[in-house]
């Protein structure tokens, strides 16, 4: 049974009933099988209804769902011969950002992204996807390497934000993020970024200044978390729902604003109910983007990327 979010309570109850009935199914009672099928149809309908109109706050919760596929799930399914490359050559290897060489549908690529971890031990190991300066410096190093060998860069973004800690500040968190954005904007190879879960502020844009920015249907991307925004502007984190509305952090709004280029649909009930399908869909979208960008030479890839970001902010929501 998946972890249910608060707003999924009715679903949880139905699925609980189905689970109970399945235990009795072995008795061969035909009525039980029928009841299971009936309840399953009800679940599907409810899922469809619920997920068709998720509020921005509900999307935030879905984007953070612990069972949502993370970076290593994507590389596991999309990248052959994945060869992680460690370290910033100056201080440490940051496990919140993973990157390396691999083969995506036949072509060599550099894949970089945040890993949140999928169980408690992994979450601690990857620091919940919150990178320190070493992480952003590793990303810079790998993007520069990709540039040198003319390999496209795929960036998978999934972070609550950069790590707010004394050590991170002492080693220049601000400079590391700034240089990482600068590197994204400088390279002469295709950079396709995808917001796969949480696109949290500076820690996200550090990898996301790409030629194409894709975004999963229920992912969120924002300058600040709804809780953080609420505690500053409403002076209470309780108002996170209102803040999530106001921030316009959903894929739909960001597409209208021209901040992202494409929404990648998630299976019924969100990516955590269909990891394989989600990953396949993102892979297809990345392949399309790479195909389009393949026509451009290095100089125009760089120029187009810069023009795209300079243009941002010219479109508004009515």
């Amino acid at each position: 049974m998946p972890t249910f979010l608060d707003f999924e309570k009715p679903l949880a109850e139905l699925e609980g009933k189905i689970e109970e009935l399945r235990h009795l199914e072995n008795s061969g009672d035909i009525n039980i099988a029928e009841e299971v099928a009936r309840l399953q149809a009800k679940v599907d309908k409810l899922l469809r209804q619920t997920y068709a109109k998720l509020s921005p706050w509900q999307k935030t919760l879905v984007a953070r769902h612990p069972e949502r596929p993370h970076f290593l799930d994507y590389t596991g399914r999309l990248i052959e011969d994945f060869t992680p490359l460690a370290g910033d050559r100056s201080f440490a290897d940051d496990h919140a950002i993973i990157g390396g060489l691999g083969r995506f549908r036949g072509r060599s690529v550099m894949v970089i992204g945040h890993e949140k971890g999928s169980d408690t031990a992994a979450r601690v190991q990857h620091n919940f996807g919150m990178a320190r300066p070493e992480g952003y410096r590793k990303a810079q190093r790998l993007m520069d390497m990709a540039d040198r060998f003319r390999l496209p860069v795929l960036a998978l973004v999934d972070t609550p934000g950069a790590y707010p800690g004394v050590d991170a500040e002492a080693r220049g968190q601000a400079e590391a993020i700034a240089r990482s954005i600068e590197t994204c904007l400088r390279i002469r190879v295709p950079l396709v970024a995808a917001i796969i879960g949480e696109g949290g502020s500076g820690g996200a844009i550090a990898l996301a200044a790409g030629n194409r920015v894709l975004m999963l249907e229920h992912a969120v991307y924002s300058v600040i978390s709804p809780e953080g925004c609420a505690s500053i502007l409403w002076r209470s984190a309780e108002q996170a729902k209102e803040a999530a509305e106001a921030l316009k952090l959903t894929a739909e709004d960001l597409l209208k604003l021209g901040v992202i280029d494409e929404i990648v649909p998630e299976p019924l009930g969100g990516a955590h109910r269909g990891a394989a399908e989600t990953i396949q869909a993102l892979g297809d979208a990345i392949e399309r983007s790479l195909g389009q960008l393949g026509q451009e030479n290095g100089d125009s890839l760089r120029r187009l990327r810069r023009e795209k970001f300079l243009e941002m902010g010219k479109r508004s929501l009515g």
């Binding site: 950069a162 707010p164 004394v166 500040e169 601000a174 400088r186 600040i224 953080g228």
Partner: protein, 295 residues
């Protein structure tokens, strides 16, 4: 964009104006808590006469201190949709903007000025902290782009003086997008072979620190300025770490290799001019300084 458009030699009166504060006021130093006579504080460039604390400067004072004879021109900034998200918290963002505009007499939190420093043409983009905490939204990003393009067109160095709490939250994702936009702006100056100097003033934090502000060819900081990415309170509250003495202050950044120089306000102008001359006048002839020539 002609160099001399709307170039006005400021009246001496405007330079010594004291922000409508009567002369007989005393001001409390945030550093040592001493009450200091207002006129004395102004005469000392708003540096505490007791403890040396550098109080914040308005952009007018700041530019007056840096340019030759305190004289500079400003460029008009094009106006974009100030509220792309139609943002509303307890109040409409549109209202907050209007209030700040009424309070400061400015359109937004950045001023782009040009003039000379030590005889060298210089463009300065200065943040206006009094305008919504100097927060960076699209108008600030546009201002930085305009400043960079003016510097490139005039073959002049660019000095940016951030004084900002970070992103303008009310512009949501559009404020985040000012990080790449401002970086592209200063890169244009660097690519033109022109110096890009950052004068980090109090405060320089959040998305402003994590973009153009940390990418100067040379980073000069004012003493005691708060400079960092994450807010000290956020670090204390979420990570429950005790903050070391002087954390995120200019001197702490100097020690950790993040800035080049920490320079007291009284020496700022001469230091910047010295740097600009070293970078822009690489050879001296027998008579002294070679007259400035554009590259």
């Amino acid at each position: 964009m002609s160099w001399l458009t709307n170039f006005v030699r400021p009246k001496l009166q405007a330079l010594v104006r004291k922000n409508n504060v009567p002369d007989n006021l005393w001001e409390k130093c945030p550093g040592c808590g001493q009450m200091i006579f207002h006129r004395e504080l102004e005469a000392n460039l708003r540096v505490c006469t007791q403890c040396g604390h550098h109080l914040r400067l308005t952009w007018q004072k700041r530019l007056g201190l840096l340019f030759d004879d305190g004289a500079f021109g400003r460029i008009e900034l094009a106006r974009t949709d100030p509220d792309p998200l139609k943002f509303r918290d307890r109040k409409r963002y549109g209202e907050r903007l209007k209030e700040s505009q009424a309070k400061t007499g400015e359109q937004d939190a950045i001023v782009v000025a040009h003039g000379t420093m030590g005889g060298l043409k210089t463009v300065i983009a200065a943040f206006n902290f009094d305008f919504m905490g100097g927060s960076m939204g699209a108008a600030v990003g546009d201002g930085l782009i305009a400043a960079a393009r003016l510097a490139v067109a005039e073959k002049a160095p660019l000095i940016v003086i951030p004084a900002s709490g970070g992103a303008r939250m009310q512009e949501g994702i559009i404020s985040l997008m000012q990080m790449p936009r401002s970086i592209i702006a200063v890169d244009e100056v660097k690519e033109a072979g022109l110096p890009y100097i950052v004068l980090l003033s109090d405060p320089t934090t959040g998305g402003v620190s994590a973009s153009f502000a940390m990418l100067g060819d040379i980073a000069v900081a004012e003493p005691g300025a708060v400079i960092g990415f994450a807010g000290a309170r956020v670090i204390e509250e979420t990570i429950r770490e005790k903050l070391p003495e002087g954390f995120q202050r200019s001197e702490y950044l100097l020690e950790h290799g993040m800035v080049d120089l920490v320079v007291p306000r009284a020496e700022l102008r001469e230091t910047l001019i010295r740097i600009l001359r070293l970078l822009r006048q690489p050879r001296l002839d027998a008579t002294g300084l070679v007259p400035y020539q554009a590259v």
